[in-house]
């Protein structure tokens, strides 16, 4: 079972996906901070700054699977001798709004691979894409609405997505 919940709020809002009670984004930060602490710190602060922007500009994100609406917040950092930025936190826009993003899981990129050759990353990206199609559909049908840059559910169930028949990552 999936649930979408408010994750970080500023002038804009970021919602996170919970899978069976586990917040995928928090889980990713815990893993990243174990393996690349500096990158985790930098990405965390980027996320905090980004959510306080007037609008969540796409140019600050990395297109991961843009045709499926999946982007990534990442830790871009130019180093003198290498340009390796391992952190990728997947996210997707709420349809029609540039002030609300839903973040899914994240992955640690290896030095040379594109997302397409990382099975786990692809699974996470498709999972987020599937969740977003349900969320966007509910938005279109009025089960969810946006008020003051926040997602408002008309019922408790509106932010819950069950496996069966809805998600096929």
């Amino acid at each position: 079972m999936y649930r979408v919940r408010l994750w970080l709020a500023g002038r804009c809002a970021l919602y996170a996906v919970e899978r069976d009670g586990v917040c995928l984004a928090d889980d990713f930060f815990a893993l990243l901070s174990e393996k690349h602490e500096g990158d985790a710190v930098r990405l965390a602060r980027f996320v905090e700054m980004y959510v306080n922007e007037e609008v969540l500009r796409e140019v600050h994100l990395r297109p991961e699977l843009p045709h499926e609406g999946v982007y990534a917040m990442y830790n871009h950092r130019q180093l003198l001798r290498e340009n390796y930025n391992p952190s990728r936190l997947l996210c997707s826009y709420l349809h029609g709004y540039n002030s609300i993003l839903v973040v899914g899981g994240g992955f640690i990129k290896q030095r040379t691979e594109p997302i397409q050759s990382n099975q786990e990353a692809m699974m996470l990206a498709r999972e987020l894409s599937s969740i977003m199609s349900v969320v966007n559909q509910r938005l279109a049908f009025g089960q969810l609405r946006v008020e003051n840059r926040r997602l408002v559910a008309t019922s408790v169930e509106a932010l819950i997505i069950h496996h069966t028949g809805e998600i096929n990552p």
Partner: protein
């Protein structure tokens, strides 16, 4: 709210915070100007004599541009880019109402 994000972000050193603030303020300002002028990233790169990778780094808030690069951007866009970036950073930073204990101790010694 995400406790882990808040906790991790709070551990960044002041020096790194300031650098990231400048980088993101530059990213925001360049993005705003390109939007206002309907200029593509490619066009901006060509006219400012930057590589696509340099423009991408700037817009993703991770660039460490030289003063020469900043001067080219300022001249091309005809904006006081450094002034804007610095005013953005100053506006967003919360200054402590009272000096930190270490600062107070230092002052008491001088």
């Amino acid at each position: 709210m995400s406790a882990i994000v808040r906790r991790l972000a709070a551990t960044m050193s002041k020096e790194e915070q300031l650098a990231q603030d400048w980088q993101f303020a530059l990213a925001r300002r360049v993005a705003q100007i390109l939007e206002q002028r309907s200029m593509t990233q490619r066009e901006f790169a060509q006219r400012a004599r930057l590589t696509d990778a340099q423009v991408s780094a700037i817009l993703h808030g991770g660039a460490n541009p030289t003063l020469g690069v900043l001067a080219r951007i300022a001249a091309l866009l005809d904006v006081e880019i450094l002034t804007w970036v610095n005013s953005d950073v100053q506006a967003s930073r919360r200054r402590p109402a009272t000096p930190e204990p270490a600062t107070r101790r230092l002052r008491s010694l001088t």
